[in-house]
Structure formats: structure tokens, C-alpha cells
């Protein structure tokens, strides 16, 4: 494949949205209130919408029989390159919101840079997505504050969620080979440059939410290399079930 770096680069962006969208979709109908239920479903919808744009572009680059669906559903576990953060389970609503917030802050910073890309397709997707993701970030930020600075129970749950998920934040700023190649071509975003701003934004919200900023300097990685946590296989077996059980059909 020519443009293999670009192809891989796109997956590196879109797989995050795919898996986070999948996680959010699992919650539909089970939210703590009708309003949060609708909001989470809505974020899932937005993310899958973005995923479709990215994968359609990737499928075009790949050519042959590739479609948005073969890319979404017909890769093996080691070929998905989402960060570990987005595959973490919804232990409770604090985890859901903490995961969302820790990803949203990154996602928005990333898209703001991506809209300056030399690749006009990516620029267009970024511009469209920024509006959606700004809303996500506002929503999750509000909930960090509500739960952090709500009751003692909610504070403790939110602190636990932040403490647990913190270990997955550093990976957001790891550069892959495809990243480096695309940065060099003026197409990709240099994620390493987002790190300082990210933590300063995140920390400000945590402080306002009366939460402690985790101090651990140990971080997990692996997702960007396709080495996932044990949660991932179960996400995959559901997500891929129909395409695997009924191959080569139209739906």
C-alpha cells in the first residue's frame, strides 16, 4: 500500500473513537438518569460518525475490497491501535466520566492541531469533529466537577476513578512510527507537544473539582502497539460477532 503511514496514522486516530464509542454504546438504557443516558448515547453517535469518516478515507487509501466495515470489524486483536484508556470498563458512572474527560481533553487539543493538517480530508473531519468534541468535553468536565465537588460518596468514587485511569494518560502522548512520518510531512499532529497543555488543563479541572491530582509516575502503555488489556478481547468478540458469524454479507 502506498501511503501506508497515512493509513496507519488514520487508524491511530479513529480506533480510539471506535472503542470509546463502543464502550459508551454499551451503556445505552442503563444510565443514572435519562439526561445522562441521552448524552452518552449522543457522544457514542458522534464518535461513530467520526469513525466512519476516518475509515472511509482509510479504505480509499487501502483500496481493494476495503470498506469502513472491514476496517472496523475485520481486524485481529493485535491490529487495533487504540490507547488503553478508551477500552477501560464502565465500573460506575465516575469511571465513565473520568475516562471520557481524560480522553476529551486530549481529543480536543488533538483535533485543534489536526485541523491545520496539510491533508484536506483530515482537516475537514477535524473541523466537523471539533464542534462535537467540544460538547463532549464540556459535558464530561461538568460531571468531573459535579461528582468531585458533590457528596462525599461521589467525591470518593470520582477520586478512585481518576486515580485508576491516570496510569493510562501518558500513552496519549507517545509517538508511533506513523505519527513521526506524518508529522514530518506536515499531515500529522505532534502529540508530544500537547502533553504540557493537557496536564495543565486536566489539573485545573481536578482542582476545581476538589480532587487530588494523582502523583504516580508509573504509566501503562501498549495500546498503540496493539497490546491491549484483557478487557479488549471481550469488546472485540461482541463488536465483531455479526461480521464474523455472517461473512461477506450486506446489511
Amino acid at each position: 500500500m502506498k501511503n501506508e503511514n497515512l493509513y496507519n496514522y488514520i487508524l491511530g486516530i479513529a480506533d480510539n473513537s471506535l472503542i470509546l464509542g463502543q464502550r459508551l454504546g454499551e451503556l445505552t438504557g442503563h444510565g443514572p438518569s435519562l439526561e445522562t443516558d441521552i448524552a452518552c448515547t449522543n457522544m457514542s453517535l458522534d464518535l461513530f460518525g467520526q469513525v466512519r469518516s476516518y475509515y472511509q478515507y482509510a479504505a480509499k487509501l487501502k483500496g481493494g475490497d476495503a470498506t469502513e466495515d472491514t476496517i472496523a470489524f475485520l481486524r485481529k486483536e493485535r491490529d487495533y491501535v487504540n490507547v488503553l484508556l478508551v477500552e477501560q470498563p464502565d465500573r460506575d458512572f465516575a469511571y465513565t466520566m473520568a475516562r471520557q474527560f481524560l480522553f476529551d481533553v486530549y481529543h480536543l487539543l488533538f483535533l485543534q492541531e489536526l485541523q491545520k493538517s496539510h491533508d484536506i480530508t483530515l482537516t475537514a473531519i477535524a473541523k466537523k469533529s471539533i464542534k462535537e468534541v467540544s460538547y463532549h468535553q464540556r459535558f464530561s468536565t461538568d460531571w468531573i466537577k459535579r461528582l468531585g465537588d458533590g457528596t462525599t460518596v461521589s467525591h470518593d468514587k470520582m477520586q478512585e476513578a481518576i486515580d485508576s485511569l491516570w496510569t493510562y494518560t501518558d500513552e496519549l502522548f507517545h509517538q508511533t512510527a506513523a505519527d513521526k512520518a506524518m508529522v514530518a510531512e506536515g499531515i500529522g499532529v505532534d502529540v508530544t507537544a500537547l502533553k504540557v497543555k493537557y496536564y495543565s488543563l486536566v489539573n485545573a479541572v481536578l482542582e476545581e473539582a476538589t480532587l487530588k491530582i494523582p502523583e504516580s509516575k508509573w504509566f501503562q502503555k501498549g495500546g498503540k502497539k496493539g497490546i491491549h488489556t484483557e478487557h479488549f478481547g471481550y469488546i472485540l468478540s461482541n463488536m465483531q460477532y455479526m461480521q464474523l458469524a455472517y461473512p461477506n454479507m450486506e446489511w
Binding site: 461513530f48 469502513e68 458512572f93 458533590g150 455479526m242
Partner: protein, 318 residues
């Protein structure tokens, strides 16, 4: 108020309805009107919310991204319908918490059809096509019901439901254009959902309560049996068009009536499900109660936070 005054008010009220005027929340209304509307609208709202579950069951396994997005959007619409139906209910002076309490305790009902499991992807087609189809037939007349907030909600709901129904039918269409396995899957879904869909239009007129009063208030404009006939007459040709067979050996066109004759409905099954013993009644209630109880600390926190914020504002203002 004297009895005469009340009688007078009631008379004016009935006349307004007869003139097709809308009753608004702040208008005077008989208590029975209020209670009947709370009951029917909340039942309708509960049906939307519980109805998210059988379809939600396939979100994680939708076969394509396009279908996944459409399914998410559909289930989200149902949540939206629930939201404005609950709001319409609240205008009559009952809180959403109280309505949930009625649902969770089993006091309030919801549409029995959602007590059947969605076992294959084709059920996403069948539910959209048949269940939303039957719902529309129930609901279109309500767009001109007497209570303003309900009528307005119904206009919006029906518009979306009709989109959902087409979407469901399109899923079935696609399956019937597919492999033999897909065609079987579609037929199987029709087989399982057909009779419950007919039951959705309610018990036969002979067994139906509330009807007369509801007719007067335009909460009901046709009898259950008439609605059922309408649903059948509308749906049979749709099935034929995509090569599916209605699972009713007694179904046949009655030239004289200009309608389809159809077989006996298994009312025992209907009442079993209504009474809480359908295949999924317990699971559905468990899912709703778990969500509600599991979300209590979240709602409490939101409340506490809002209070803190308000206090801070007051302090700043001083």
C-alpha cells in the same frame, strides 16, 4: 366550590373538548381527566424507556457502522420521547421520581411487547417495522387528542416513529435481498414478532376497559380491534412485497370486508405477559431498577453540587 359550580365547570370542559379546543395544564380539569392522562402518558413514557432495552441489546453487535449509528440514533430518540412524555406528565403535577416509582413497583404498566427478547439482528428490523408500525397506528390519532402537551408530544413522536418504522422495514428488505441465511433470519424474526405485535393493539374490544370515557376525551378514537385490523391490512402487503410470509395460516383477504381475516390470537400469552410473567418482564424491570438505584449517588451528587454552586453565588452577591 359547590357541587353545582363543579358541574358547570365540567360541562364547559366537555364542551371545549367537543369543540376540539386543547386543554392546557393550567386549565381547570376534572380529577379523573388528570389521573387518566397521567396514567396513559406515563405508561407511554415508560414504554419508550423500557423499549430502549431490547434494541440496546444489539448496539454493541450491530453488523455495520452505518447500522450501529442508526440504531444508536433510534434508541436515543426513544429516550428523547420518554423525556418529553415525562415532561408532559409533570405538567399535571406529578414528579418524574414518582412516575419511576410507579414503574419500578409494578404499579404502572408499559407496553408488553418489550418483554420479548431480541435474539437476532433481524429483530432490529422486525421491531422497527412491526412494533413501531403498531405504535404509530396507536399514536397517530393521539396527535389530535384533547390535552395540549400530549397532542404536541405525539406530533413529534409520530414523525420520528414513522422514520424508525421505515428504517426497520429497510433492515428487513435488505435481509430479504441477502443470502438464504439472511432471508431465514428475517422470516424467523417476523414469525416471532407478528403475534406480539397484534397483541400490542390491546385486548379485544369486549375485554377492553376505559374505552368509552377515553373516546370522549379523544384519548382513543378507534377501538382496539379496528386499530388491529388497520395494522394487519397495512402490514400484510408490506410483508408480501419483500417476500416474507405472515405466520398465520388463517390469514386471507376478505373481498367483502375489504380487509384481511386472520387467526385466533393467543390471549393467554397476552395476559401472562401483561401480568408480569413474559419472557423478559423480570429482566427489563431489573435493568431499569438497577440503573435507577445504581444512579442514585450520581443524582444526589448533582443536586449537592448545584446547591453548593447556588450558595457560592449568593455569598458572592452579598
Amino acid at each position: 366550590m359547590s357541587e353545582e359550580q363543579i358541574k358547570n365547570l365540567e360541562k364547559q370542559f366537555e364542551e371545549r373538548i367537543a369543540r376540539d379546543e386543547k386543554i392546557e395544564p393550567k386549565d381547570w380539569m376534572p380529577d379523573k381527566y388528570r389521573q387518566t392522562h397521567i396514567r396513559q402518558m406515563s405508561q407511554h413514557a415508560h414504554s419508550e424507556i423500557v423499549g430502549m432495552l431490547p434494541e440496546g441489546n444489539w448496539i454493541s453487535r450491530a453488523p455495520t457502522l452505518r447500522r450501529k449509528v442508526a440504531l444508536l440514533a433510534k434508541v436515543q430518540d426513544e429516550a428523547g420521547h420518554g423525556l418529553y412524555l415525562y415532561s408532559a406528565c409533570e405538567t399535571l403535577g406529578i414528579s418524574r421520581d414518582a412516575l419511576y416509582e410507579q414503574l419500578h413497583s409494578g404499579k404502572a404498566k408499559y407496553s408488553s411487547i418489550f418483554n420479548y427478547p431480541t435474539v437476532t439482528w433481524a429483530d432490529m428490523g422486525a421491531v422497527g417495522w412491526l412494533v413501531d408500525g403498531a405504535a404509530i397506528i396507536n399514536q397517530v390519532p393521539l396527535c389530535s387528542t384533547s390535552f395540549g402537551p400530549y397532542a404536541r408530544a405525539m406530533v413529534r413522536v409520530c414523525k420520528e416513529e414513522s422514520f424508525h418504522q421505515r428504517q426497520g422495514y429497510e433492515i428487513m428488505l435488505k435481509l430479504t435481498q441477502g443470502t438464504p441465511e439472511q432471508i431465514d433470519m428475517a422470516q424467523d424474526a417476523l414469525n416471532r414478532w407478528w403475534w406480539p405485535s397484534l397483541m400490542m393493539l390491546g385486548p379485544t374490544d369486549a375485554e377492553s376497559v376505559h374505552t368509552e370515557q377515553s373516546m370522549k376525551w379523544k384519548l382513543k378514537r378507534k377501538s382496539n380491534d379496528d386499530l388491529r385490523q388497520q395494522f394487519i391490512d397495512q402490514t400484510v402487503p408490506q410483508a408480501e412485497l419483500i417476500g416474507l410470509t405472515i405466520p398465520d395460516p388463517d390469514l386471507k383477504w376478505n373481498e367483502e370486508r375489504g380487509s384481511y381475516d386472520f387467526g385466533e390470537i393467543n390471549w393467554d400469552e397476552f395476559w401472562q405477559v401483561v401480568k408480569g410473567h413474559g419472557p423478559m418482564n423480570k429482566e427489563r424491570m431489573k435493568a431499569r431498577i438497577d440503573a435507577w438505584e445504581g444512579g442514585e449517588w450520581v443524582r444526589d451528587a448533582a443536586m449537592a453540587h448545584a446547591e453548593k454552586k447556588a450558595e457560592r453565588k449568593i455569598k458572592q452577591a452579598i
